[in-house]
């Protein structure tokens, strides 16, 4: 028995040594840079492309709207077939877009067009092999598309650019908005509240808590998965998560520590509820939550929920710190081309143009609640004019676009871990009473080591 085991272990050790030497050579071939523009599709040329979108992992208005748009595209372009799919693997919606693409790359067939969140822009452009669209179809073609009859908002237009090239066409995104249950606030005697600063929000929350007996404010930004809007809260207080030269992590700075300390105070005073993002969504849908700062993409779903349950939904812009202008950051994603086949690339570009057209934004904004990035559509004569007039929830969201700062992606392979470290530190300091100074500087130090 013993001898047999020894032999086995010996064989294993020998094989192991073999494996190491065998695996040593796996160098990649590098990316092909398109030197000239990709050709137009021939008249009878049939092309099939795969489109991966995390909106297809969300049942209801999201999937229905996107599927509808894809159907319309195929009708308009009978030669192009689009296979639409949701990202693979588990995790929260929108949190696994890159890992899904990467898994499929390893298996040898990545999606041709993928909807990737902005926090992975650096990684997508430098590592994942996203194609520079402005090289494929020419910078002018991209610019012409982004302008058109109703141009993209200037703050949205170049969010998918990397080192002077367009890698992603900004697609759907939202800004952080404070939704509130006006019926619940009215019960506490608060009508038409001023919610422009965190102090004022805290005052209203305390009044509501006096009636309901529980914390009245939910904040997506301070829970894991909410880093995109936490970046905005930092910026609202003069802090940065990453320096402009992308070399230094900034969430250990005094301004950042001060930001976290102020939010921790809200938590300590019983204003802020400690809940993960899913619980926050459930709370606001059920009508339990008085106020929540979350993605404006929830608008469509919340409108349905409030109508069904008979409470009044209102919203305000993201609050700021007293005496300082609030700086909203965007959530969301851009559309990237991953295919290296010219025909598929051309079909992908046609598809991307369709999904970011006037018609697409009319549907996406009115049905889901994402921002109409072609803001002209909401003005007189535009297809969203009437909807915008009837929908008072849109105004704060749209106004924030003028002050929008991009959601920053961290450099390097460990960008997700950097974000995790920040989110854990923020949770520890805000909800669990850890010393903000110590927690944030430790986190920044660890993150700094990871971005090189």
């Amino acid at each position: 028995m013993l001898s047999r085991r020894k032999t086995l272990l010996g064989t294993l050790a020998a094989l192991t040594a073999l494996g190491i030497s065998a695996c040593g050579t796996g160098a990649g071939t590098g990316q092909n840079q398109a030197a000239s523009l990709i050709p137009e599709l021939g008249k009878d040329q049939k092309v099939e492309i795969t489109f991966e979108s995390y909106n297809l992992a969300q049942a209801g208005v999201w999937t229905d709207t996107i599927k509808g748009l894809i159907g319309d595209f195929e009708t308009a372009h009978p030669n192009i077939t689009v296979h639409a799919q949701a990202p693979q693997g588990g995790g929260a919606v929108g949190s696994n877009t890159v890992s899904s693409v990467q898994t499929q790359l390893l298996a040898g067939h990545a999606p041709d067009v993928s909807q990737l969140t902005f926090d992975s822009l650096d990684f997508a452009a430098t590592q994942l092999g996203a194609q520079p669209i402005s090289d494929l179809v020419g910078a002018k073609a991209v610019e012409d598309h982004l302008d058109g009859a109703h141009p993209f908002h200037p703050n949205a237009k170049h969010l998918g650019d990397w080192n002077g090239k367009t890698y992603g066409v900004p697609y759907v995104f939202s800004t952080p908005v404070l939704f509130y249950n006006a019926s619940l606030l009215a019960k506490a005697g608060v009508t038409d509240p001023d919610l422009s600063t965190w102090d004022k929000v805290a005052d209203v929350a305390k009044k509501v808590s006096a009636v309901t007996g529980k914390p009245a404010l939910d904040l997506n930004c301070t829970s894991k998965g909410g880093s995109w809007c936490m970046q905005g809260i930092f910026k609202s207080n003069g802090a940065q998560v990453l320096s402009d030269d992308r070399k230094t992590i900034g969430f250990g700075s005094d301004a950042a520590v001060d930001t976290v300390s102020k939010l921790a105070a809200l938590s300590k005073e019983g204003v802020l509820r400690n809940a993960d993002i899913n619980a926050q969504y459930e709370g606001v849908i059920k009508g339990d939550t008085a106020m929540v700062v979350t993605s404006s993409a929830l608008q469509g779903m919340l409108m349905q929920a409030s109508k069904k349950a008979g409470w009044q939904l209102k919203d305000a812009a993201m609050p700021g710190f007293a005496g300082k202008q609030a700086v909203p950051t965007n959530s969301g994603s851009a559309l990237f081309i991953l295919s290296s086949d010219p025909a598929k690339q051309r079909a992908a570009w046609e598809f991307i143009k369709w999904m970011t057209s006037d018609k697409a934004y009319t549907e996406i904004s009115s049905k889901i609640g994402y921002l109409p990035l072609r803001t002209g559509l909401t003005e007189k004569g535009g297809s969203l004019y009437e909807w915008a007039q009837k929908n008072p929830l849109l105004a704060p969201n749209l106004a924030q676009l003028d002050r929008l700062q991009p959601w920053v992606s961290y450099p390097g392979n460990s960008y997700v871990q950097v974000d995790d470290i920040l989110a854990t530190a923020v949770e520890n300091a805000v909800y669990y009473g850890k010393d903000p100074k110590q927690t944030m500087t430790d986190a920044a130090k660890r993150a700094q080591d990871l971005i090189h």
């Binding site: 094989l15 192991t16 190491i20 065998a22 796996g26 160098a27 790359l105 400690n274 392979n413 949770e427």
Partner: protein
């Protein structure tokens, strides 16, 4: 059984054939020795292809820096990734949590099922089958569905469990967001699922014990407790060792989906375990080398535990004819 024996027919022919076959094999001693290996060849090929080859590739990966993108180069970095794994601040907590998880599941999926299975012996006939089925059913519920239901049960505002706790005078908050409670909640959910598996294994073990032993001992005047501790439990020990080994080796995997769905390892890594950490580094942070190195270390660690148990089961095994 139904073969008609004809004079000079089959029965007579077969010894002749056998002799002829043996003669042929004797002419090719090598071929004869190879035959048994041919029988196990398909199994060995599959095992090498699906288990040992990936294992070796993993060992190879653990010495490289690679972000799992096929077009990006793999850089050989020696043992750097091992050093990094061992210095990860999260690793110590994840290891400690894993030990606590294993301890808890030894209680829930070995000790508790033993009690349940022994008690269920006094239930007779169909009722027993029904009772065992009831305990086993949660094992068939998918982790996604069960974690959704448990999340509602634990919901701080309207959940049944906090409501009962409050009625008993022990108000509880959001257990998934409490660093002291998140792990307990994962243990409860996974334990609820795994209890049935344990009961099934032990019930099968009990069914294999010949009742004559107990009857004989009772005839000699043994009391029930004596029969239990001197006869039943020792005869059951192979099942118990098997179940314990399964629990130790698999508990980290059983907990993985629930951790991912319910707490994501939080708050502040209080409910994470080593497999969840591995997944985070490999597939969320794109550090193939780091998670491969961690995988190798865990493989060696759990391999030693498995060896220990194999030894233990050899010592404890009874051969009941």
């Amino acid at each position: 059984m139904f073969v008609e024996v004809l004079p000079g027919g089959g029965p007579a022919a077969s010894p002749v054939q056998a002799v002829a076959g043996r003669a042929a094999a004797a002419r090719h001693p090598l071929a004869r020795r190879l035959v048994p290996y041919l029988y196990i060849l398909p199994a060995v090929v599959l095992l090498v292809l699906w288990t040992y080859w990936p294992l070796l590739q993993n060992v190879g990966l653990s010495f490289q820096d690679w972000n799992l993108i096929p077009t990006r180069p793999r850089v050989f970095v020696g043992t750097e990734k091992y050093a990094k794994v061992l210095s990860l601040p999260e690793l110590r907590q994840a290891l400690m949590n894993t030990v606590v998880y294993i301890g808890a599941f030894l209680l829930i999926s070995v000790a508790l099922p033993l009690v349940f299975a022994l008690l269920s012996r006094s239930v007779q006939g169909r009722a027993r089958t029904f009772y065992q089925a009831l305990i086993f059913v949660p094992f068939l519920v998918t982790p996604v569905a069960s974690s959704a239901v448990w999340r509602w049960l634990f919901a701080p505002d309207s959940g049944t469990i906090p409501a009962i706790a409050a009625a008993l005078g022990h108000p509880m908050g959001d257990v998934f967001r409490d660093p002291d409670g998140s792990m307990t909640s994962v243990i409860v959910i996974v334990g609820w699922q795994m209890l049935g598996f344990g009961v099934l294994v032990i019930a099968a073990g009990l069914a294999g014990i010949n009742p004559d032993y107990a009857a004989a001992a009772a005839l000699d005047g043994a009391r029930r407790r004596q029969i239990l501790w001197r006869i039943t439990v020792p005869l059951l020990s192979p099942s118990l060792v098997f179940l314990s080994l399964m629990t130790i080796l698999l508990s980290a995997q059983w907990t993985y989906p629930i951790i991912d769905l319910v707490t994501q390892g939080g708050p502040g890594n209080s409910s994470t375990n080593i497999y969840y950490l591995l997944y985070q580094f490999g597939f969320r942070n794109f550090d193939a080398g780091l998670s491969a190195a961690a995988g190798v270390l865990f493989f060696v660690g759990f391999g030693l535990v498995a060896l220990l148990f194999v030894e233990l089961s050899e010592r404890l095994s009874f051969h009941d004819n």
